[in-house]
Homo-oligomer: 234 residues x 2
DNA sequence: TGTACATCAGTGAACGCGCGTTCACTGATGTAC
DNA sequence: TGTACATCAGTGAACGCGCGTTCACTGATGTAC
């Protein structure tokens, strides 16, 4: 029992994992609103009050599942960004975007939970921030790599949108935060591409594009590639 | 009673309006999940079963409110598109986009209901489609007007994203559906702008951009203007 | 190694909540003659 | 204009559901001596 801890510790860890697993499955199958401690307990053959030995409250369980969801997406995007480091930045961008989309379709309720409308009465604690930004930071890394390896070209004289002074100050701060050394116009395009990517995934997942086209994945790929071009990724 | 109908008809219409009004307010204040026939009845001083004389079920009430929400947004966007017909298309586009954003912030729960994650266990019936597309069709109208009045210029040799043949067929159908005579590349940019617009509104409203910048409205305006430029609106 | 006590996991009952929906009913309004 | 019947609005009780959370408890596991 030296390395693995006492029987109690081992079984506690196992049961905690079981609760999260079942919670995750309920979330995946029926959505956040239908996630209840009682149903999780029922499935595990324990009495509902027993769950409180492992989880503080329903909100606590939900928070852990949110963090899990963000981490699951974050890991996948990071992995694809890592794996494609030898490719052209525009191809990496497309691959990463398709990964976000695929994850969303594989985990629709989890996507809805983290990128959809907030769960009523629930406020995500600041703890979730680190996990919540992983996917987006992985996308940023593609742009940073492209800049550093000079695989970046902006049209010579693209007309420039004039930025409000305060927004420009915001951009200065943002550039420092995400360590991305690009000019205002390009940064704006990156933010546009980022919101467009998630916007289209959400529209597809929430059926706003139903009847618009049949080839949803092709449309997504085309839009993503176009945005990579606009950013200036080779 | 000739023109206004019988006492019964008048009072029926009034009470139906009351139910929808209270429902709308509950939706606005507490969100779709918290909308219940019992609470609406309570507020109106009727017994819960009485509401069933006016509304078939909770889902029926929700559907009517969804249609109302779409219509409310649709009307506002249509109005601004009408009112700006003399201005440059890019300015109209910006004005319309800001209207969508303002409506979303004024009616966050309604926006979440129609553009956020679907309500669990609820499927919007096809009846909602007409109202659901009004805002988007108003945006399209700006592009159509620009095309017809030749206030449209695309960069001469913008590199073109190659479209998959089946997606191109989709685009042919779409062009006919929305009566918008523009080439594939431009249509793609319009779709991008459309998803970007709602994507950024959703991100803002659902707090995904918290900490990113302080000047959210300026960012939104800059992104929208940039997209108008990319589409080719003067 | 054995015993005495402390810690922890799990039980089962209970509280109080709010919901959607149905149903037999009373009494008011509307209509046909 | 007056009466007999039909239609409709609203009542109040009830059914059955599931939820989060608390609490005093029993019995097993862990620890200090």
């Amino acid at each position: 029992m030296a390395t693995n801890g006492t029987t109690r510790e081992v079984s506690r860890a196992q049961i905690t994992r079981d609760i999260l697993d079942v919670g995750r499955r309920h979330l995946a199958e029926h959505g956040a609103a239908a996630l209840s401690l009682r149903s999780v307990a029922r499935e595990l053959g324990m009495v509902s009050s027993a769950v409180y030995r492992y989880v503080e409250s329903r909100d606590d369980l939900l928070t852990r599942l949110i963090v899990d969801a963000y981490d699951s997406l974050g890991e996948q995007v990071e992995a694809v960004v890592d794996a494609t480091s030898a490719e052209l930045p525009s191809q990496r961008w497309l691959a990463a975007a398709l990964t976000v989309r695929a994850w969303a379709f594989a985990h629709p309720h989890e996507y809805a939970l983290v990128y959809g409308s907030p769960v009523p009465g629930y406020a995500a604690p600041p703890t979730t921030v680190t996990s919540g930004t992983r996917a987006s930071l992985a996308l940023i890394r593609i742009v940073r790599d492209a800049k550093q390896s000079k695989q970046f070209r902006r049209p010579r004289r693209s007309a420039v949108v004039e930025l409000d002074a305060r927004l420009s100050a915001d951009f200065d701060r943002l550039r420092a935060n995400i360590d991305l050394d690009i000019d205002d116009a390009t940064l704006l395009d990156v933010l546009i591409a980022w919101t467009q990517l998630f916007g289209l995934v959400s529209f597809e997942l929430f059926s706003q594009t139903r009847g618009l086209v049949d080839q949803h994945e092709e449309l997504f790929a085309a839009a993503t590639s176009r945005m990579a071009m606009i950013i200036g990724l080779r």
